[in-house]
Symmetry: C2
Subunit: 235 residues, 2 copies
């Protein structure tokens, strides 16, 4: 079957056609597909257009591309799920719930040993330690336990962290170049249970997050969400 009238000229259309061939198994896992020049000829578009489409599919994990070796259908499609890590307030308000925030404690302490190692801080570096409760519709939604490297963001000492959450303040006044984030489950401590209005030992969804700005640690936080919390996305 020749294609003459219905040419595929934009990269979204190219991508859709390639996806069709993948889903219908016309191109099977591990198989080598035609190179960019050939596809461009078949589709009646420029090679750059094919490149754009295939590059996006490779980034999504559906294709494996290597110079000289060509493009193959991924054998184990490691699908990339992208999670939007937004500010808690925005997330809560986005669900139509009212948001509230309470600062529970604020201290300035020398960094505990394990944290000092993880943040690669010098001896006895002073850290700001915050504990806060985030509420949704008046109920405990998330408990935040955060350490901030005061040396990296001196202005935080003058910030009014009883009205605005530390995370939100940091987003507006500092910035980071890299970070790591981990997701896990943990049992609620007695303290967390009280704050979140659940039983001690209940399963909580936990996010651990540390951010850096060019080798300078900014902050490290543990966010424990009330039971029932679910982080969702599409693939």
């Amino acid at each position: 079957m020749t294609r003459s009238s219905d040419e595929i000229r934009n990269w979204q259309a190219v991508q859709a056609e390639v996806l069709r061939r993948l889903h219908t198994r016309q191109w099977r896992p591990g198989e080598l597909i035609p190179n960019e020049a050939e596809l461009a000829r078949e589709f009646g578009c420029a090679r750059a257009t094919v490149n754009r489409a295939l590059r996006a599919l490779a980034e999504a994990g559906l294709l494996d591309r290597r110079r000289k070796a060509g493009t193959r259908v991924a054998l184990h499609p490691v699908r990339k799920a992208t999670l939007d890590i937004s500010i808690v307030r925005i997330e809560v308000e986005g669900r139509g719930q009212s948001y509230d925030y309470r600062l529970l404690s604020r201290d300035e302490l020398p960094a505990p040993e394990p944290l000092r190692v993880r943040l690669k801080l010098g001896d006895g570096a002073p850290l700001l330690h915050l504990r806060a409760l985030h509420l949704a519709d008046g109920n405990g939604h998330m408990v935040e336990d955060r350490w901030i490297n005061a040396a990296a963001v001196p202005a935080i000492r003058d910030a009014d962290l009883s009205r605005i959450s530390a995370n939100e303040w940091l987003v507006m006044h500092a910035s980071f170049s890299e970070g790591d984030i981990g997701f896990s489950a943990a049992s609620a401590s007695a303290d967390e249970a009280r704050l979140l209005g659940c039983d001690a030992g209940a399963a909580l969804f936990v996010i651990d997050r540390t951010t850096w700005n060019r080798d300078l640690a900014i902050t490290s936080a543990r966010l424990a969400f009330a039971p029932g919390y679910r982080m969702q996305t599409v693939i």
Copy 2:
């Protein structure tokens, strides 16, 4: 300061320079940055190169771009964390552990009501129901509870699912166009506790996943991981 000799000619360099200006707050949140043509002139490269760099940063959530309105530094940098959703076996072996798999049960049942609604299936559609245990270094690592729409993948009835996991079989023999995935925490049931070698009620990390191929539901699975499991990525 004029740039004459040290021009920025490739998109990675452009991106790095833009990132530098963001991190040093030379361009602040909410601020309008120069348009593509101006930046191309400043950097001494083509507009397409600037476009490639800025588009990537916008996809990462650092910039907001709108036709005619121009490009602004994102006010609330909704950072996108991309998680690699790979096959359990690959993940376990990637950590240098030995992997094993046991099929616990296999039935063919009419779909329970809530699942039938979620998968948009017809009345009394028959589903394959599987329960399996995945082991890492001989210890319970994850309990899988999966429903498969046999009508969508008839060949699954003849598959030997006692040697290869259903997920792995599906990856190789079926494929999906869309899916949703959710992460949460749950307390271990007595059964799960026995399989995973933990106490009943322990906090488990849970992944729920449903996949489709053009409006045709393929499979829905619940994966409950042993305590201590952590899903990690960088931002």
